[in-house]
């Protein structure tokens, strides 16, 4: 079956856009073919820095014939309407049949369109795709109007080995391309993907990006091993370098070992981010004074000049880094604090200096709550942003925190303080770990919470897909630290002083709802904090849902009210989940729901009665009216369950609370089996409703069972 082959060759495509572009080309072409009725067996897209290529195989030579019937106007319709219909359908009156319908005779046009040759479809489709290609950023060049990521130089489109003719942006489609910029000469004629890959390989172009990445990976490992070194693996860098070359050649260079005095992160970052080179370690795991580079050339001199050149650039880079390292160490972190005044954190939330002062206070408070060394937590918080004004972080922003820790150690701060400075940005994403030590945890919590409280105070909350200050990530960070480190923090209570401090150092105009309060554990607290807690509840749900926890269980716990200790919430949800997996749990849930339903119906009935005649369902049932043994047994069981769950909840032993509730299952089942709630005797009815209400009361301290599904 015929193959459609396309190559769009341009000047160098930015590495970061290549993968997506190949996917877009495949999608647009196959969608275009599909909408013309053309099916295919396989589509393969490739990309190099200078070309997008696509093969779509198993296509038919033409689109299918189309036969359809179109209902037209009645035979008695005005001539104009009939002519209009014929024109629209592209047929004459001879192609129409007359059909008798309920409302009289009408025309039916028999439209038959023969299939079109596939190349014709392609020749119309390709200019449209090229003209509207979704590059993230595109440009014009020369005197033309076409937009492409960089100037488009040639366009190949062949079908079944023959050129599909069309013009786009001043280019005429053809079947010729060229190979590697420096290692190949002359045009290469292309028929289809197979010969394209083969002939370009001869012309020193590896068409497949994953093959280039594989070559880089395995050559890098081999070359390291040959020098008894170990590659510092970096898959992102492999992918990026695979997007910078058409023919990868891995070479090894070196630098003066005196530079190894600079922290290893600096060396790795410097040679990686500026030079796209790989760092190496020796057998002991120490950074080596050698590195790997990926060139695009099999040089005539075996790469000597390339290595020399790269060595000089790396040496200059590392000299810069060493200069910053030596210079930065001369200034104590603490004496850099005034510099932070010059950095605006957010126009409405003051400077970094003000922010650091708030974080320091908050880190002390969290330190006390979670049992960290309070002085160290405050000190680490005070110093944690000082590296932002060092030369090194100015040069390598991604080393923030890490450099602060190095400078802290260099000036003799305790390890706990240094580690906290390094880790306080953690966790930075789902794959990042949480901070290890208590001091680091206190500072990390304070850093994130200050951000959250601040943005809530000025009303800049995330909406929809917009979260410019990464507040969701900050909240998720807090959640992970609390849960993974088993930390108990009452979010609302612990943030009240932080909120006050934010209000003092912020633009008063921006604090919209600062005077609004809401009830919390019997007092009034700022409404912003209650809304922030809701945000945490939402984030917690997302987090737990990702771990497969039922969201209704989370609702059932939040619905208890006054819940802001995330660790305890999760423990309770956990216990509830386990309980509901037992037979007792499932049956009790059914019983509680049944009780609640009956109560709801009866409450509605009562509400319709005049107030004086309403039955009060709250309060304890009268023992002397409990006539059936099942009633008496249930009453006794409820009393015991309430006492036991209360005690267990006080001890925060949720599993035990669930076990206490489980004992209700048999009496509840027996009660519903044998006892009629809506007894004829109104006294019995009232007493039994009270008993049902007690079931609800017994469970509602553990979770809101009405929120649980099933």
């Amino acid at each position: 079956m015929p193959e459609l082959f396309i190559e769009l060759r341009s000047e160098e495509i930015p590495a970061r856009m290549q993968k997506r572009a190949a996917e877009d080309l495949q999608r647009l072409v196959t969608e275009g073919l599909a909408s013309a009725g053309l099916e295919f067996e396989e589509a393969i897209a490739h990309v190099t820095p200078r070309r997008l290529a696509l093969s779509v195989s198993g296509l038919n030579k033409s689109t299918p014939d189309i036969k359809e019937e179109r209902k037209g106007p009645g035979t008695d319709a005005p001539e104009q309407a009939i002519q209009g219909f014929l024109k629209a359908a592209g047929v004459t009156l001879d192609d129409c049949e007359i059909v008798e319908g309920k409302k009289g005779a009408f025309f039916v046009a028999k439209v038959a369109r023969p299939g079109r040759p596939t190349p014709e479809v392609v020749s119309e489709l390709m200019p449209q795709i090229i003209n509207k290609f979704p590059w993230p950023k595109s440009m014009r060049w020369g005197s033309g109007q076409l937009r492409w990521v960089r100037p488009l130089q040639s366009v190949i489109t062949t079908f079944n080995g023959r050129t599909v003719q069309y013009e786009v942006g001043g280019l005429t489609s053809g079947s010729k391309t060229i190979g590697h910029r420096f290692m190949s000469k002359g045009p290469i004629t292309v028929k289809g993907l197979k010969d394209y890959i083969y002939n370009l390989h001869l012309a020193n172009v590896v068409v497949d990006a994953s093959e280039r990445a594989d070559t880089i990976r395995s050559d890098a490992r081999k070359l390291s091993a040959r020098h008894r070194l170990q590659l510092v693996e970096d898959e992102t860098l492999i992918q990026e370098t695979a997007g910078l070359v058409e023919w990868p050649v891995v070479l090894i260079g070196d630098f003066d070992s005196a530079f190894l005095a600079v922290p290893p992160e600096v060396i790795i970052t410097s040679i990686k981010s500026h030079q796209k080179c790989f760092a190496l370690r020796d057998k002991e795991g120490h950074l080596a004074n050698r590195y790997l580079l990926v060139s695009n050339l099999i040089a005539n001199d075996g790469g000597k000049k390339i290595i020399q050149g790269n060595n000089r650039v790396i040496a200059a880079r590392l000299a810069d880094a060493k200069f910053f390292w030596d210079l930065d160490k001369k200034t104590a972190l603490e004496s850099r604090l005034p510099e932070l005044e010059k950095i605006t954190f957010h126009a409405k939330l003051g400077t970094q200096r003000q922010r650091v002062e708030r974080v320091e206070a908050l880190a002390g408070e969290f330190g006390r709550i979670i049992g960290a060394d309070v002085d160290n937590a405050r000190l680490a918080a005070k110093l944690c942003k000082a590296d932002l004004v060092t030369g090194m972080v100015g040069e390598f922003p991604e080393l923030q925190g890490i450099m602060g820790a190095h400078y802290a150690r260099a000036e003799g701060q305790e390890e706990e303080v240094a580690a906290a400075i390094a880790e306080h940005y953690k966790p930075q994403g789902p794959s990042d770990s949480v901070p290890q030590g208590k001091v680091a945890q206190a500072v990390a919590l304070a850093d994130k919470m200050d951000t959250l409280v601040g943005f809530w105070a000025i009303g800049e909350k995330p909406t929809g897909s917009k979260d410019p200050y990464a507040l969701r990530r900050a909240a998720l960070g807090v959640i992970r630290i609390l849960l993974e480190c088993n930390l108990r923090v009452l979010i609302v209570d612990s943030l009240i002083p932080a909120y006050r401090r934010v209000c003092m150092s912020s633009d008063p105009e921006a604090l919209a709802s600062v005077d609004e309060t809401g009830p919390w554990r019997g007092k009034n607290v700022p409404i912003d904090l209650l809304e922030l807690l809701e945000f945490f509840a939402d984030r917690l749900k997302v987090y737990l849902r990702d771990q497969g926890v039922r969201h209704d269980l989370i609702d059932a716990v939040f619905s208890l009210g006054d819940q802001d200790d995330l660790l305890m919430i999760v423990k309770r949800v956990d216990a509830l989940g386990k309980f509901l997996e037992t037979e007792d749990g499932v049956n009790l849930l059914a019983g509680v729901k049944r009780a609640t339903n009956i109560l709801r119906i009866e409450e509605k009935k009562e509400a319709e009665k005049p107030e004086a005649r309403r039955v009060d369902m709250t309060g304890k049932p009268l023992p002397n009216l409990l006539v059936q043994s099942e009633e008496r047994e249930l009453n006794r069981a409820i009393g015991a369950a309430i006492a036991n769950t209360e005690r267990s909840l006080l001890e925060e032993d949720f599993e035990a609370a669930m076990r206490a509730l489980a004992k209700l299952r048999a009496p509840v089942d027996a009660f519903f089996d044998k006892v009629t709630v809506n007894a004829d005797d109104p006294n019995f009815r009232e007493n039994r409703l009270k008993l049902l209400n007690m079931i609800r009361t017994a469970t509602e301290d553990v979770a809101d069972f009405t929120k649980i599904e099933g």
Binding site: E12, P14, P49, M139, R140, R150, P151, A299, K305, G309
Partner: protein, 307 residues
């Protein structure tokens, strides 16, 4: 490949002369540097203004470039507050611009069979000129040796046709081809023995003195005043231009002046973060005004009588 008698790998000036020859052969007007302090070769009116409007234009020139904050008192082997850019602007950008550029590298002794030459994404933007373009920084064995840009907008105005702009950092390139690690050790004239003149002999004292001036001595009050003067004069000239007495090029000079004064104030550390943005916007407004006015002149492609 270099013209007879020139040795671009041994002499800074021969490097420049070789590029002059090369670009002369490719139809460029060879201009001399613009006689004002600018932060980049792009500021030369032969690039900024000529890249707007319909007229074809090919130009190459050396432009001394002043970056006051980059001064290092002559102590850093790679950083200078005054250095040279070699600027080539081809309008419209020819289809073989990359090949032409690679040819110029071959001419100065960078042979592509032994050196790893790469085009690495780098989009260019000049906030003060309201200009941007897409292109690359060109790497030779891991070192950035040129900036390669297709201008899309200048002064906020679409470039049609599009100019291709090549900027060579001359000192860096010379250090590379001469195999020198310290800019001050470059051979300036290719001479030997007593006849050898180094880059340091020509510029070291200047670097020391200007660093002092830029960071310590420049009178900031005076500079503030000069900025305002330049801004006022620029706007007055643009108004006169709009009234039918075109003085767009003199107006643009004032814009260049304001831009340099801003760079000096910035180096003196007297501009706060928030002020910084507003200064940039003020210069950009001048640049936009000049570019708009340029389109109303013959050089900018206006027909007679049309403004």
């Amino acid at each position: 490949m270099a013209a007879a008698g020139l040795n671009p790998t041994k002499s800074f000036q021969d490097l420049i002369l070789t590029l002059h020859h090369y670009w002369t052969d490719h139809g460029c007007v060879i201009l001399q540097p613009y006689d004002m302090e600018v932060g980049a070769g792009t500021f030369h009116p032969a690039t900024t203004l000529r890249s707007l409007g319909p007229h074809p234009w090919r130009v190459a020139y050396v432009q001394p470039t002043r970056r006051p904050s980059d001064g290092r008192y002559g102590e850093n082997p790679n950083r200078l507050q005054h250095y040279y850019q070699y600027q080539v602007t081809l309008k419209p950008s020819p289809d073989d611009l990359q090949e032409l550029y690679l040819g110029s590298l071959a001419a100065i002794g960078i042979d592509h069979l032994n050196h790893d030459i790469r085009f690495v994404e780098d989009d260019w933007e000049s906030p003060t000129l309201g200009a941007w373009g897409l292109g690359w920084e060109v790497w030779c064995d891991g070192m950035e040796i040129s900036q390669f840009t297709y201008f899309q907008q200048v002064g906020g105005i679409d470039c049609a046709p599009v100019s291709g702009e090549l900027t060579y950092g001359l000192e860096r390139l010379a250090m590379y081809v001469q195999g020198i690690d310290n800019v001050y050790d470059l051979s300036f004239n290719g001479g030997t023995g007593d006849g050898r003149v180094s880059y340091g002999e020509v510029f070291l004292q200047a670097e020391e003195e200007y660093s002092r001036y830029n960071f310590e001595a420049a009178d900031t009050q005076m500079l503030h005043g000069q900025f305002e003067d330049a801004e006022r004069q620029c706007m007055a000239l643009l108004e006169a231009s709009a009234d039918g007495r075109p003085m767009v090029l003199p107006a643009y000079d004032q814009c260049i002046k304001a831009s340099h004064i801003f760079n000096l104030l910035d180096a003196r550390g007297v501009i706060s973060v928030t002020e910084r943005q507003s200064y940039i916007l003020r210069v950009r407004d001048l640049a936009k005004g000049c570019c708009q006015a340029w389109l109303g002149t013959a050089g900018g492609g206006a027909q007679q009588g049309e403004i």
